[in-house]
Structures are given as structure tokens and as C-alpha cells.
Subunit: 231 residues, 2 copies
DNA sequence: GGAATAGTGTCTCTAAGACAGTATCTA
DNA sequence: TAGATACTGTCTTAGAGACACTATTCC
């Protein structure tokens, strides 16, 4: 409305969203990358991202969800804002903003057929355009840090999970072994899981494990504990 | 550069920064507000904020620092990104982004003379435009949460501080009493303070307290502990 | 000396980790 | 039955909180 009357006409800002989509493969965090179709850096693997469409997207969160859906086919993962990167020099096209979100998803839910999705281990990232490497590093830091006292890693698991499976996931994310008894005490304290009555994970040559599912209250919201899960 | 050839011309996004400047007064967190000079909401107290000036600001952080300097005279506080608010409906002028930063400052360093700065207790905020109330609430949450395991509250103190003074600050921020012995153990563990040799806070009718200063390594960076400062 | 708060030594108590024992499956 | 891992009971240990005692100032 009164915008132009208030401030001088500065060159416009390029407004984009990017998504750090993380999954667990071979006990290690991996990030989903896409070969860029457009310049700059066409052909290089990069984070899924795109312009904010002001007539389509109500918010930047919705823009990120749309980008994720359109570029990877993934519909409603745990999607949370990470940080906003900005500046004159980060994009050769000009002064730009990227509102970055991160998402977690079980490997099985990734459509990895032949739609161009690449998986890169976060410990050994390929050359990436813009400041995407730093962005992935920050996302991993955030996920590790939040996992220390929350239910965040359950979003890396499928609907059904056993405690031994979940412990392996936590250990992979945190990068350190966890005491079994303490781990179970903490998961109990978090209260996000409920046992599926009578359902046991059989098939292995040992006592079967109880199968749990995420309580519906925590499908979209984290559960927290005061003191960390490990130490 | 090739921007327009890649995407259709969407209506531009209004790109702004806002700053939640917090201080401690009467043992309670207060936020600094300014009466808006321009429409919309001219005359209403609001967070200091303004447009990103793409020819002047190298990054959004610099834009926030500039806004703070120009509107309040404060030069280099602890200034960190909080979150980015965005959407079609939050600003009557159109689709907007606000990259929000928060800053902490000792009350004595606030130029509260007659330059229009208002102080509002965060527990009883006045009517504020846009989504500023929610923004302040999030900033307070963030500060409380970070204060549980970091040196963040020292930025609310002046250069010289005693441990009893600092404990009062922590208790005000966290909103709960802290065990004195544990508190001192934790501050020692944080390792951010060094005693000023021979300098004691005298003048009161009791044993004087040792005066400390912030080690230079922590002037701009937080110190962290694994387990919380209280419980 | 009395009052007040600073600073410290030490005991208690809570909760995390270690360890080992029992449970229950496959081969 | 042997081997493997799930689950659980309980002891040990680390660290947070409680309490009390000494230190040092002003009045």
C-alpha cells in the first residue's frame, strides 16, 4: 500500500525457502539433495528450494511444504524453521534471503526411485552451491542438540518401533552409545510412546521386543525432558 | 541477473528486520518499544524495526544492528537471530517477511532520556501491532531456555559483577530461586568470569563481595554447560 | 558486639550408569 | 538345549540441594 511512499526504492530482495531433509541410512544421517535445474549452479546437487510464491503461499512454512511436495513428493513430515540466511553475496543474482526449514523422515518414506533424489552422508557432503554446506551443518547441529532432550528422533522411525530400534536411532543421531536402562527410563519419562497391545517383533533368534507407536498427541509436537537423555 | 527469466513476476515481498531488545528492571525482564512514526499503526508502541536496505546492509544481521543503532543509539549488544516471521496477512501492506533478532543489554546502557524509548514488562505487554506480541513471547522463551545452561544472562549485567548480583539476575530471568552453592559451582564450571584481583564491592553492612569481569573470550560468545544451572 | 550478607565445607538425596539376572524367541 | 537379545531389579556413583559454619563489613 503505502510502501513506496515510506522508503526509497531499493533493489528488490530475492526471497526463497530451502529445506534440509534428513534421514537415517546405515546408521548415519543423510541429507536429500537435488540436481539444480536452473542457473545459477545448474546441474549441481543442492538443497530443495525455491522462490516464495506470494499468491500461492500463505506463509514461508507453506512455501517450504510446497517446495518439498513438488520437488520430492513428500507430503507432511516434521517441518520446522531452522534459520534465515541472507546477504548481498550469497547468491550471484543479488541480495537474497533464504528461510531455511529442516525436516526428518524415515528412509522408507523417501521416494528414491528415479526422480533424481540424491542422498549424501552429512559427514561427507559433496560440493554444494551457495552457503548450503553451512546450512546442512547447522541443521545437523540443531537436530543433535534437540535430540538430547526430546522425542525428535522418532520422526526418523516408521509408525511402529521397538525400544531397541529406537535406541539405535538415538545413538546414531547423537553419535554416542547410551546406557540401556537410562534410555528406557527417559523414553518412559518422555511419555510419547504407547505399546501396541500384544504386538511383538518376532522373527529373530531371541526374545521378541514389544512394538510401540507414537501417541497421537506427539505426531506433530515434541515431547521434552528436563535433563538430557544421555548424561 | 537471470532472475526474471526463471520465475514469473510475483508481487514483491516486503523485507524487514525487527529487534527484541530486552533488559532487566526491578528484577523483571522488560522489552524496549518505540512509538511508530509511519503507517500502518503510526503512534503505537512497537518493536524497533525497519526495511532491509540492500545497498547499505551486507546482511540481515547488519540491518538489525543498523536499525538498533539508528533508532535507539545502542551500538554493539549481544545480537542474535530469533526467528523469521512471514506471511500474507501479518502486514496490511502485503506479503511480508520480518527477520527478528533479539538483544540483551544492561539497563544502565539504555539511553532512556527523552528519545521516545518505552520500557514494557514482558509479563504485561501493551497492545502491539502486527504479530509483535507473539514475537516478544518467543524471545522471552528463548532467553529463559538458553539461560538454563549458558552464560547468556551476563549480557544483562554491566562490566563488573559480583556473584550474588549475577545470581539475582539468573533468578529473575529463570523466574525461580537457585541454590547458592550449586549456582557458584555452575558459574565456576562455565568459566566465563574472572575475579578482578583485590576489587571488592564494599559499602554494605556485611562482608564485601568479590568483583568479577567477563573473560574477553566470552564477550561475544556464550559459554555452555551440559546439565542445567538449576536442577 | 550485633546484624547482615559473602563465601565454603560437608552431608543428604536424587538420578544416571553398571551389572547381572530372568524371559522368550530361533535353530 | 544353545545362543541371542529383550527386559528388569538393584547396587554404585556422580552431582544437585540443604544446612551450617566461618569471614568480613557497617553501625
Amino acid at each position: 500500500m503505502a510502501q513506496k511512499s515510506v522508503e526509497p526504492d531499493y533493489p528488490p530482495v530475492i526471497c526463497t525457502v530451502d529445506v534440509v531433509l534428513l534421514t537415517l541410512k546405515d546408521q548415519a544421517l543423510h541429507v536429500v539433495l537435488l540436481k539444480r535445474k536452473n542457473e545459477p549452479f545448474a546441474g549441481t546437487p543442492a538443497l530443495p528450494g525455491g522462490y516464495i510464491h506470494t499468491q500461492e503461499d500463505k506463509t514461508a512454512w507453506e512455501a517450504a511444504a510446497r517446495v518439498l511436495r513438488d520437488k520430492t513428493g513428500i507430503v507432511s513430515p516434521y517441518l520446522e524453521q531452522l534459520a534465515t540466511y541472507s546477504g548481498a553475496d550469497r547468491d550471484p543474482r543479488g541480495w537474497s534471503i533464504s528461510i531455511v526449514y529442516y525436516a526428518l523422515i524415515p528412509l522408507e518414506m523417501l521416494p528414491l526411485d528415479n526422480n533424481g533424489l540424491l542422498l549424501a552422508p552429512v559427514s561427507k557432503l559433496p560440493k554444494m552451491p551457495f552457503d548450503h554446506k553451512g546450512i546442512v551443518d547447522l541443521a545437523v547441529l540443531r537436530v543433535r542438540s534437540k535430540s538430547q532432550y526430546s522425542s525428535l528422533p522418532v520422526y526418523l522411525c516408521g509408525e511402529r518401533v521397538t525400544l531397541p530400534q529406537l535406541q539405535v536411532v538415538y545413538e546414531a543421531v547423537l553419535g554416542e552409545p547410551i546406557n540401556k536402562v537410562s534410555f528406557r527410563r527417559k523414553i518412559d519419562e518422555l511419555g510419547m510412546l504407547e505399546p501396541i497391545e500384544g504386538e511383538l517383533e518376532t522373527g529373530a533368534a531371541h526374545r521378541p521386543a514389544q512394538v510401540y507407536r507414537l501417541r497421537s498427541a506427539y505426531k506433530r509436537e515434541l515431547s521434552l525432558v528436563q535433563r538430557g537423555i544421555n548424561s
